[in-house]
Amino acid sequence: MKLKLIAAGTLTLALLALAPGLALAHGDETGVTVQPLTSKPDGVITVKGELLGPKSSVEVMVTGNGEDVDLGEVKANAEGDFTHEFRLPADLKPGTYQLKATGKKSATTQITVSEALAGGASSEKAGSGAMEQAPVIRQRPLRQSIGLIALFGVLAAAGMFFATMRRQKA
């Protein structure tokens, strides 16, 4: 009986956890994804669309931050799917944008445009496997480090003393 109760409780919790996702799953079946999630001005992105209407002409747009940019048009296949590469405008401001693919049906996703990503590199460099150097982490002067370690040592000793004091009985 107890086992059944536990099993029922676990199942109920699992269903409750799944509920938001299941609810979402009954929404729109169309979809659009973009890779990479974060790009930079003049970067190349790969947009994948699904179920946007068989053989439809899909217009891909980027909107947000006061800008409304038409990236181009692509033909969907018989299922309404497509995969296509687009180049972002070189003068696109950093920020988060909505990327909308509109065929017979439409779907949206988001893309972040970041200046920090660029680091002066071209989009070809970003895609080629080149990576900039890790930044310099400030090292504390040796005296400060020793002082901090000594302070933590005192705290640890105090904690050990406090924890191992004679134990009371009820």
Partner: protein
């Protein structure tokens, strides 16, 4: 002040190190919350400025490097104390009736700490490793189907994924931890602290609980141990933070996959190497699935580990597997998994 409510009796063995590991983990979570609140004053969750703000914390903010070090090292140490706590419960069979549900709550706490806290925390750094972790998150959300909807980028187009993970890190994960901790502590109080295997096997604890006259310990002593060892944990995290400053990697390059995850996830990375991205899901389900089944597999009436050879084997296999898989990842080169 009502503090007298804390002056209740507990079994004598409650006031030993091994039975205080849960309390030490709790103190670690408090350290994480306090240092996290401080770090949040300087962190910018916007993708265009996130990494710069982490660099600001590390290099410019007052005591930023020290508190960031304490935050990250405490997170790692909390995982270790939680695993030791789990190990103690496994060895002493404290998951047996009537404590099966509390074992499951404890597992949920561990999962929330590792997959909720540490994973989202890694992404907040917004360097190459963070970006690759987020990309894995997005791919896994697709694999999870309906359940992945909430975690996927497609869930909303109005906010970028990084700020949403930041919100998860600073509000959702702590809220889940609080709810689970309340349930965990309530069930411990409700069932009483489990007797030792020797006491239970000698028939001294009918119904899995020591009679009141045998509860000769004192709860304030347990609190004192928690605070004392909590202070040691804080000091250890601080020392490690000073000796081994937490790195910040290069700015993310979306075109490459060149990093390994945090060591906490090394065992999962090995599954990913073998089975592709799905391996992460399979590995996590396998480990937590086996652990969740433990109270229902182990139906022997005795609690001494020597009387439970099957559980002894399962325990050894799990520990060896986790260590070996982690070592394989530690010494293997980085492999690209993303499509």
């Amino acid at each position: 002040m009502g503090l007298s409510a804390l002056r209740y009796a507990v079994p004598e063995h409650a006031n030993t190190f091994w039975y205080t590991l849960g309390g030490i983990t709790f103190m670690g979570i408090i350290i994480l919350v306090v240092t996290g609140i401080w770090l949040a004053q300087y962190y910018n969750p916007d993708p265009s400025g996130a990494r710069e703000s982490v660099l600001f914390i590390q290099n410019t903010a007052p005591l930023g490097d020290v508190l960031r070090g304490i935050h990250i090292w405490t997170a790692y140490l909390v995982v270790i104390t939680a695993l030791l706590h789990l190990g103690r419960i496994f060895v002493t069979a404290s998951y047996k009736a009537p404590r099966e549900v509390n074992w499951l709550v404890g597992l949920a706490l561990l999962a929330a700490l590792v997959f909720g806290g540490i994973f989202t925390g890694t992404v907040l750094r917004w360097d190459q490793e963070a970006y690759e972790a987020l990309a894995h998150n997005m791919e896994l959300a697709t694999l999870l189907g309906a359940f992945g909807g909430f975690f996927s980028e497609a869930f909303t187009t109005s906010v970028a994924a990084l700020p949403r993970l930041y919100i998860a890190h600073v509000s959702m994960v702590p809220l889940i931890l609080v709810f689970l901790l309340i349930a965990h502590i309530f069930l411990i109080k409700h069932h009483g602290l489990s007797p030792t295997p020797a006491q239970e096997d000698a028939g001294e604890a009918p119904g899995g609980r020591l009679p009141e006259e045998k509860e000769t310990g004192h709860y304030p002593t347990h609190l004192r141990l928690m605070i004392g060892y909590g202070l040691v944990l804080f000091a250890l995290a601080g020392t490690l933070g000073v000796i081994f400053p937490q790195p910040i990697g290069p700015a993310p390059n979306p075109g490459i996959e060149v990093t390994k995850p945090s060591w906490v996830f090394y065992w999962l990375y090995a599954f990913e190497d073998w089975l592709g991205l799905n391996g992460i899901l399979y590995g996590a389900i396998l480990l937590f699935g086996i652990l969740a089944l433990v109270p229902f597999i182990d139906r022997t009436p005795l609690r001494s580990l020597r009387s439970r050879p099957v559980m002894l084997v399962i325990g050894i296999v799990l520990v060896v597997a986790l260590v070996v898989l982690s070592l394989i990842t530690a010494f293997s080169p980085v492999v690209s998994h993303m499509g």
